[in-house]
């Protein structure tokens, strides 16, 4: 059958077709849909791990047991898993193990745009770079074969543009398959899987040889493909960048690399001597270009004409080609941007009835006494108008450690950490242990919306539902925190403005180690959330004071009606957007907001 699949759907399909039996992942844009799709296939086990290192460790155990396996994460997640990853290269694998890293050039929904191909060179294992969904599907099988043949972990690197684009894939309809138990565990004579110093020293030269062997295989591997054309220009490209090259450099010779590490240097050298000028087009770092220059291969153009930062586009590749003096087909002309009218920006906002709203409304009222360390999730939007209640944010789970350090270094304000439920289980437990142990007076607000929300509502240890929809064990955050020795633990209804205010104030005044408040309310996209009748504004009562705008709800709008005493616009509520959470009603000083008739 012929179907349009996203890169992520194709990676899942390729993994299933290639016999992957176990997969583990932590959700993160743009990688999330890979495991969501893989989980739907028969005869496999797929799980959400509590973080990316756990996901990789799960996969390592599966591989050592003999199963084909994948671990899936976004680019910054690989940083979390890197401790195991770097030594996994030394231990090698038994069942094929592929680490899927979904990078985010352009940082559409990430804190940086690191180029994870660098991990392949750093860790000394191969990196495959698919250019469309069909590649993604096929390369998964190749990656697993390479992994098993050379006993190496293999990185399969996607990018946002590949993961979230759909292109045609041809495949046969997946058939039923039974889950296969592993053969009896055979204790091996040699203990390369136990990476103590003596073994590590012995393994290091072996992995250098292994890399060499993969490079030799790459010289004739089908994934590195020559497309001969006009030989005045030869373009070397990889990943999604190849698609831009194919259009802009149409008619010229192209060497499409399916693997950016290790490189088939002889093949590239031969290509370079056949063409008059060698141009390298790659997204982000000059990863291939640097390797070619180090090998003494003459590169006419690379990062001198193509941007180092940001996602590549047809327009950027066109501009680079023109700069290199390559004759390219011109554009038909331009349409002027609409400059005569000011176009207001449309930043994302917390949804109507979002359970984070009352907390950030209160945080904004308290922020003159506080330093607020944030974390990764929808609640990162606490930094935006009208709250402006986040002072630092750097990585998953970092809020608690940053608040701790700020306080211990002598910070005079209250230090508040805001962290989501999934992020808390990801990497909030160990910094909380450090704060309890060192008796640090910080406030930790666990914004528990009962789901991993920002990535599209994935289950987590706090919800107790597994990726494959089974009932697992739900972990109670307040109980865990109490067991860790926190002396201030309070749960509060996320939509009760006064209760959140009271708890927040008390937590900030707590002087016996960390104070933890668990702000509980289900994300509006979960089945737990029950929408209510929309609210409306009584124009006879509204005094146009604007307090309701401070809750930052997309459903609260300026009305055409004017409050006569001040000449200001009154408020109205969009009945299509409002789901009746009452946060605005609670803050209205004159009781002008009431339940609509429905």
């Amino acid at each position: 059958m012929k179907k349009l699949l996203s890169g992520n759907e194709a990676i899942a399909l390729g993994a299933w077709e290639a016999g992957v039996q176990y997969a583990s992942a932590y959700p993160g844009t743009p990688s999330t849909e890979i495991l969501e799709n893989f989980a739907l296939y028969p005869g496999i086990k797929a799980e959400w791990a509590s973080n990316e290192k756990v996901a990789l460790d799960n996969a390592i155990g599966a591989s050592f047991g003999g199963a084909r396996t994948i671990a899936v994460m976004k680019h910054v997640g690989v940083n979390v898993a890197a401790d195991s990853l770097m030594s996994l290269s030394y231990t090698g694998v038994k069942g094929g193990l592929v680490l899927v890293s979904a990078d985010d050039p352009g940082a559409f929904s990430s804190q940086n745009e690191q180029d994870n191909r660098q991990y392949a060179r750093f860790g000394k294992f191969p990196c495959l770079d698919p250019a469309d969904s069909e590649d993604a599907r096929r390369f998964m099988a190749t990656a697993l074969e390479v992994s098993e043949r050379s006993q190496t972990p293999v990185l399969l690197r996607s990018t946002t543009r590949l993961s979230h684009s759909k292109s045609v894939v041809e495949f046969t309809e997946p058939q039923a398959r039974e889950f296969q138990p592993l053969p009896k565990f055979e204790r091996e004579g040699e203990v390369t899987r136990v990476i103590i110093p003596a073994i590590a020293r012995r393994r290091h030269p072996e992995i250098e040889q292994r890399l060499q062997a993969v490079a030799e295989w790459a010289e004739s591997a089908a994934i590195n493909r020559l497309e001969w054309g006009d030989k005045r220009i030869g373009v070397l490209s990889t990943g999604i960048a190849y698609q831009y090259v194919r259009e802009i450099f149409a008619g010229y010779s192209i060497l499409k690399l399916g693997m950016s590490y290790p490189l088939p240097l002889d093949k590239i050298r031969a290509f370079a001597t056949e063409v008059e000028e060698l141009i390298v087009v790659e997204e982000l770092d000059p990863f291939i270009e640097d390797q070619l220059r180090a090998a003494g291969i003459k590169v006419a153009h690379g990062k001198d004409i193509f941007p180092l930062c940001g996602e590549l586009t047809l327009a950027k590749v066109r501009a680079g080609a023109i700069q290199a003096g390559v004759p390219v087909e011109p554009l038909p002309g331009k349409v002027a941007p609409l400059a005569e009218l000011a176009i207001p920006s449309r930043p994302p906002a917390l949804c109507p009835s979002c359970p984070h709203r009352a907390f950030f409304y209160n945080m904004a009222r308290q922020k003159r006494h506080a330093m607020i360390a944030g974390d990764i999730g929808c609640y990162s939007m606490g930094v935006m108008e009208p709250y402006k209640s986040m002072d630092m944010l750097i990585s998953m789970g970092a809020s608690i450690g940053m608040a701790h350090g700020f306080k211990q270094a002598g910070g005079q304000e209250s230090a508040v950490a805001t962290i989501g439920d999934s992020t808390f289980f990801h990497s909030g437990l160990s910094p909380l242990a450090a704060a309890v142990y060192n008796h640090v007076n910080i406030t930790v607000a666990v914004l528990d919306n009962r789901i991993t929300a920002m990535t599209g509502q994935q289950e987590n240890p706090g919800t107790g539902i597994t990726l494959q929809g089974e009932a697992g064990r739900e972990i109670d955050i307040a109980e865990v925190v109490r067991a860790m020795g926190v002396t201030f633990v309070e749960e509060v209804d996320a939509w009760d403005v006064a209760a959140v205010a009271k708890t927040l104030k008390a937590a900030m005044q707590h002087q016996d180690g960390p104070a933890v408040m668990v702000v509980r309310g289900a994300c509006i996209f979960t089945p737990h959330f029950k929408p209510q009748a929309s609210l409306q504004v009584d124009p006879e009562k509204c005094i146009a004071c604007g307090v309701c705008f401070k809750v930052g709800c997309p459903a609260i709008l300026k009305s055409e009606r004017i409050y006569e005493k001040t000449g200001k616009q009154q408020t109205k509520i969009d009945p299509l957007l409002c789901t009746g959470c009452t946060v605005c009603q609670q803050v209205c000083p004159v009781g002008a907001i009431e339940r609509g008739s429905e």
């Binding site: 559409f108 946002t160 543009r161 331009k334 002027a336 609409l338 449309r346 906002a349 108008e385 604007g546």
Partner: protein
């Protein structure tokens, strides 16, 4: 016979832009062409701007269009048509839902939503055909506000002079069965909107 078409669908998170673009890509395949589509989600789900590119050609390379090469800009919201106008190719067409969704910056009084007629006039100056559609009232008339995307796809099918049945079938394959009838009605209303 259509050989090459670039489409850019834009709107606000939650409007059904991504479903509509899936359907448009599928119609490209059903016409016997290659098709790709590309979008960015993540943060943009939360009431932010959503953009989705769809390309039809005998063989498509890049999944995204290039600024200045879009044949049809389909805007699910009036302001978004204005924001993305410079992606259009000279003489390209615009289908624009007249619905207005005010951004938070406007709610907070930091910016104004431009006058609707002035926006449409500015679009007229830059495009080949501009087809404004009252997609929200039409979807309501069809029986479900979520059929906005069906209304707009029907308008697109009429603008392109392609077989409407291909589009209707692609839509019906995609939506839950219990919504088939409202989508059929919405499709008829959207087709008629193109002819005004």
């Amino acid at each position: 016979m259509i050989k090459h078409k670039n489409f850019l669908f834009v709107g606000v998170g939650g409007q059904g832009v991504l479903t509509a673009s899936d359907i448009a890509a599928q119609v490209g395949l059903d016409l016997g062409l290659d098709a790709k589509k590309s979008e960015v989600h993540g943060f943009s789900q939360r009431g932010g701007v959503v953009e989705s590119h769809i390309r039809w050609a005998p063989r498509v390379g890049s999944p995204t269009c290039e600024k200045g090469t879009v044949d049809v800009l389909l805007a699910f919201e009036l302001l978004e048509a204005a924001r993305w106008i410079d992606w259009l190719k000279p003489g390209g067409d615009i289908i624009v839902n007249r619905q207005q969704i005010t951004p938070m910056s406007v709610n907070l009084g930091q910016a104004n939503y431009p006058d609707a007629e002035a926006l449409l006039a500015a679009l007229e100056k830059r495009a080949g055909r501009v087809i404004p559609v009252e997609a929200l009232p039409l979807a309501e008339k069809a029986g479900n506000v979520r059929t906005i995307n069906t209304v707009l796809l029907a308008t697109l099918s009429a603008l392109l002079e392609t077989d409407p049945q291909l589009w209707e079938n692609a839509i019906l394959r995609r939506v839950p069965k219990r919504y088939a009838e409202v989508n059929k009605v919405a499709f008829k209303l959207g087709q008629a909107a193109a002819k005004k």
